[in-house]
C-alpha cells in the first residue's frame, strides 16, 4: 500500500486537474459557442481567411451525418498524408540520420494508430523515424486526432441540448479547436517541458564520446530531436505516442519527477475539463456531477487496485520514478486512454495491469478527451434504462423519453468494444500469428496479446509488445481494430444524439440523474456490464498471473 505522502501526491495531482478543468471549462465552452473573446482580434481575421480558402460557410450548421462524415473524411485525408510521409521519409527533408522509408504495413498501422488517437507503436521512433516524420506524421496527427475527438464530443452534446437545430459546423469547430485550445495550451506546455529538461532541436543526433572514452575511445550516440513539442500534444491530447520506443520511460522524454508529475497533469487536464464542458454546453451544470463523479470514483477504484501491492524498484522500473509513480502513471495513462508509459509494463505487478485493463475496458474514467465523455453518456443511458425497467417507469434523460431505438443504438455502441477485442485476440492465436512473433502460450503471453487488442480497440496505445508486433498480421489486424474502435462508436453515438435533437422535453422532474444515488447506481452498472463482458479473458490473463504469483 502507499504511504501518507504518496496519497497526498495523488490527491494533489488529481485535485489540481479537477480545479484547472473547472477553471478552463467556461473558456472552452465559449470557443464552441463562438462567444466573443479576447483572442478574437488576432484570430478572427486568420480563421476567416481559412474558411474562405476552404470554401466553408462558417455560419452553416450540419446534421449528425454531415458532421460525422466530414470528420471521417478529413481524418482519412490526414491518414493518407501521414502514410505517404512515413513511406517516403528517405527522400524527404530533415532526415539527418538517413532512415529509410517504413514498410507499407508498418506505415499503415502507424498512420491509423496516430490518427485515431491510439498511438500503438510497432516501431521505436529514435531508430526508425526522421525529424520530418516525427513532426509531420506523428505530431501532426496527434494534434488532428485530439481536435477531432473534442469536436465530435461537443457536437454530440449539442445534439442533446434542448433548442438546438444542428450539431454545429465541423470545419469551424476543428479550426477553432486547433487555434484557440490546442496550440495555446501546447505552446505553454512545450516551453515548460523544455525548461524542465526535455530537448527540442532539429540539429541531428550528437555523436559523442564517453568519460571512459577519453582514454579508451568509447563513443555513444545522444539521440535528441524535437521532443518537447511532441510530448506536449501527446499528453494533452491523450495521444500517448512517444518520440522514443521506451516512451516516457526514456529520460529525454521524461527526465525527472517534476516532468513526470507535470505530464500526468497534462494527461488528465482535457478529459476532466470536458466533464465540466458537458454541463456548461447543456445549460445544466448539475449534469456534470454523474459524469465527473462517476469517472473519478471508477478511477479511484482502479488506483486502489493498483496500489495494493508493494511498489518497490524492480526490473522495468526507472530509478527516478520508483514503484509508486510507475504504478500511478500506468493507471492514469489507461484511465484517460493516453497510452504513454513511464515503465516497462512487464515490470508492473499483475494488479496494476488489471487496473490498466479496467481503464481501457470502461473507456470513460474519464477516458480519452471527447470520446470518454461520449462513452460516459452512453453508460448513463444504459443505467437510466436499467433503472427505468426496475422501477417500472419510462426511462428519461434530460427530460427526454428514451425509446427502444436509443437503447438499441447504445447497445450497439457498447458491444462494438468486446467484439473488436475478443474476436481478433482469438484469431491471433488460431492463425498462428502469436507464435510467429515469439510470444509464449502462457498466462503472461496471453495477457500481452489480450492487452494489445484491448489497447488498440480503446484507442489507448500502451502495449507490452511494441516493435515485436511489427508483423503483417499484427500491423493490419490492429489497424482495422483501431479504425473500427474509433469511428464505429463515434458514428453510432452521433446517430443517437442526432435523433435526440429537437425531441420533446417534459418539464416535470422524473428520475434525477444529477443525484449522488444515481452516480452510485451508474458506477455499479458500469462495473457489472463491463466486468461481466470481459471476465473470462481477465481471468485467463492478469488474474491468473496474480494467483500464480507471477
Amino acid at each position: 500500500m502507499i504511504d501518507a505522502i504518496q496519497l497526498l501526491y495523488v490527491i494533489g495531482i488529481l485535485g489540481s486537474a479537477i480545479l484547472a478543468g473547472w477553471q478552463l471549462a467556461p473558456y472552452i465552452t465559449r470557443v464552441y459557442s463562438r462567444a466573443p473573446g479576447r483572442l478574437d482580434r488576432v484570430l478572427n481575421p486568420v480563421e476567416n481567411r481559412v474558411y474562405r480558402l476552404l470554401g466553408v460557410d462558417s455560419q452553416g450548421g450540419m446534421g449528425w451525418k454531415e458532421y460525422f462524415f466530414a470528420a471521417l473524411a478529413v481524418n482519412i485525408v490526414q491518414m493518407v498524408i501521414g502514410f505517404l510521409i512515413l513511406t517516403n521519409q528517405d527522400i524527404l527533408p530533415l532526415n539527418p540520420q538517413h532512415f529509410s522509408g517504413l514498410s507499407w504495413d508498418l506505415a499503415l498501422n502507424t498512420a491509423i494508430s496516430i490518427a485515431t488517437n491510439t498511438n500503438l507503436q510497432h516501431y521505436s521512433g529514435e531508430y526508425a523515424l526522421s525529424y520530418f516524420s516525427q513532426m509531420t506524421a506523428i505530431q501532426f496527427l496527434q494534434f488532428t486526432s485530439a481536435a477531432t475527438g473534442i469536436c465530435v464530443a461537443v457536437a454530440f452534446v449539442r445534439g442533446l441540448t434542448s433548442g438546438t437545430k444542428d450539431m454545429g459546423n465541423f470545419y469551424v469547430d476543428f479550426v477553432r479547436t486547433i487555434t484557440r485550445i490546442l496550440i495555446p495550451l501546447c505552446l505553454v506546455a512545450s516551453v515548460v517541458l523544455v525548461w524542465l529538461g526535455i530537448p527540442q532541436t532539429v540539429s541531428g543526433y550528437v555523436n559523442a564520446g564517453t568519460v571512459e572514452g577519453l582514454v579508451n575511445g568509447a563513443s555513444q550516440v545522444i539521440r535528441i530531436g524535437p521532443v518537447a513539442s511532441l510530448v506536449s500534444i501527446m499528453q494533452l491530447g491523450t495521444n500517448g505516442g512517444g518520440y522514443y520506443g521506451a516512451n516516457s520511460a526514456n529520460p529525454f522524454q521524461n527526465p525527472n519527477p517534476a516532468t513526470d508529475i507535470f505530464e500526468i497533469f497534462l494527461m488528465l487536464l482535457l478529459p476532466t475539463t470536458l466533464c465540466f464542458v458537458y454541463g456548461e454546453v447543456l445549460g445544466k451544470k448539475r449534469e456534470t456531477r454523474p459524469i465527473l463523479f462517476g469517472a473519478y470514483i471508477l478511477f479511484a477504484i482502479d488506483l486502489v487496485i493498483a496500489f495494493i501491492p508493494n511498489t518497490a524498484l524492480g526490473p522495468g522500473i526507472e530509478t527516478r520514478f520508483g514503484g509508486f509513480f510507475s504504478a500511478f502513471w500506468t493507471v492514469v495513462t489507461t484511465a484517460v486512454t493516453t497510452g504513454s508509459v513511464n515503465s516497462s509494463l512487464g515490470g508492473e505487478h499483475p494488479l496494476a495491469i488489471l487496473a490498466a485493463f479496467m481503464g481501457m475496458l470502461i473507456q470513460s474514467t474519464p477516458g480519452g478527451k471527447g470520446v470518454g465523455l461520449m462513452y460516459m453518456v452512453m453508460y448513463v443511458v444504459i443505467t437510466v434504462f436499467i433503472v427505468g425497467l426496475m422501477s417500472g417507469r419510462t426511462p428519461e434523460y434530460l427530460g427526454m423519453k428514451i425509446n427502444s431505438r436509443d437503447v438499441k443504438l447504445v447497445m450497439v455502441a457498447f458491444l462494438i468494444h468486446p467484439l473488436i477485442i475478443l474476436v481478433p485476440t482469438i484469431l491471433a492465436y488460431a492463425s498462428g500469428a502469436v507464435a510467429a512473433i515469439g510470444v509464449p502460450t502462457t498466462t503472461s503471453g496471453f495477457t500481452e496479446v489480450f492487452y494489445e487488442f484491448t489497447s488498440a480497440a480503446a484507442n489507448n496505445g500502451s502495449d507490452f509488445l511494441g516493435a515485436q508486433a511489427n508483423s503483417v498480421f499484427f500491423n493490419v489486424a490492429t489497424a482495422v481494430v483501431m479504425f473500427l474502435g474509433r469511428y464505429a462508436p463515434i458514428g453510432v453515438l452521433m446517430a443517437l444524439s442526432g435523433s435526440m435533437m429537437g425531441r420533446k422535453r417534459s418539464t416535470e422532474v422524473g428520475l434525477r440523474t444529477d443525484s449522488m444515488i444515481f452516480t452510485l447506481v451508474l458506477v455499479a452498472s458500469i462495473l457489472i456490464v463491463v466486468v461481466l463482458t470481459f471476465f473470462p479473458f481477465l481471468a485467463l490473463g492478469p488474474i491468473a498471473s496474480y494467483f500464480q504469483g507471477a
Binding site: 476552404l54 481536435a147 496550440i183 523544455v194 532541436t201 568519460v211 500534444i233 530509478t319 520508483g322
Partner: protein
C-alpha cells in the same frame, strides 16, 4: 451536363476536406514544432540540446542518459536491461553505497570521502517524492574534478 454539375459538386465537397488536411499539416506538423524549436533554442539552449556534459573541451555525455562505465574506479549505472529505458541515468543511494568499497580499493580514496560525494549528490527532486537516488555521471564528474591526481587521464 449532368456530369459537370456532379463534378462541380464533388469539387466543392472535396475542397474543405483536402484543404483542411493540408493546412493542418502545415500548422501542426511544421509551423508549431519549428516555432517551439526556435523558442527553446533562445530561451533554454542547455536543456533544448540535451544537457550535454563537457570534459577537456569534449562532449562526454548527457546528464539525462546513462553511459557505460566499466572501470572499477567509477560508479557504474544499472545494467541496461534492468530499467525500462535501458538508459536509466540514476542509481539508488543503496546501489551507490554498495560500490564505495570497490572504488575505494581501486583508487585509494577513503570510503568516508566517497560516502560524502554520494550524500552531497542525492537528487533534490527525488527527495521530494521520497526517492533517494544519485546521477551516476554527476558522481563520476565530481570524482574526476576533486581527485585530479587519481583521475589525471580524464581531468
Amino acid at each position: 451536363m449532368e456530369t459537370t454539375t456532379s463534378g462541380k459538386k464533388a469539387k466543392r465537397a472535396l475542397r474543405p476536406i483536402i484543404g483542411l488536411g493540408l493546412l493542418s499539416l502545415l500548422v501542426c506538423g511544421l509551423f508549431f514544432p519549428l516555432f517551439i524549436t526556435g523558442l527553446a533554442q533562445v530561451l533554454f539552449p542547455y536543456q533544448a540540446n540535451g544537457e550535454l556534459v563537457h570534459l577537456k573541451g569534449e562532449v562526454v555525455g548527457s546528464n539525462l542518459i546513462a553511459q557505460n562505465f566499466t572501470l572499477p574506479i567509477f560508479f557504474q549505472p544499472r545494467n541496461e536491461s534492468q530499467s525500462a529505458s535501458g538508459l536509466d541515468p540514476d542509481i539508488t543511494v543503496q546501489m551507490a553505497d554498495a560500490q564505495i568499497g570497490r572504488i575505494s580499493n581501486a583508487t585509494g580514496i577513503p570510503a568516508s570521502s566517497l560516502q560524502q560525494v554520494v550524500n552531497e549528490n542525492v537528487d533534490v527532486e527525488g527527495r521530494l517524492v521520497e526517492l533517494q537516488y544519485v546521477n551516476v555521471l554527476t558522481l563520476n564528474i565530481q570524482l574526476i574534478n576533486e581527485y585530479q591526481s587519481v583521475y589525471s587521464a580524464y581531468g
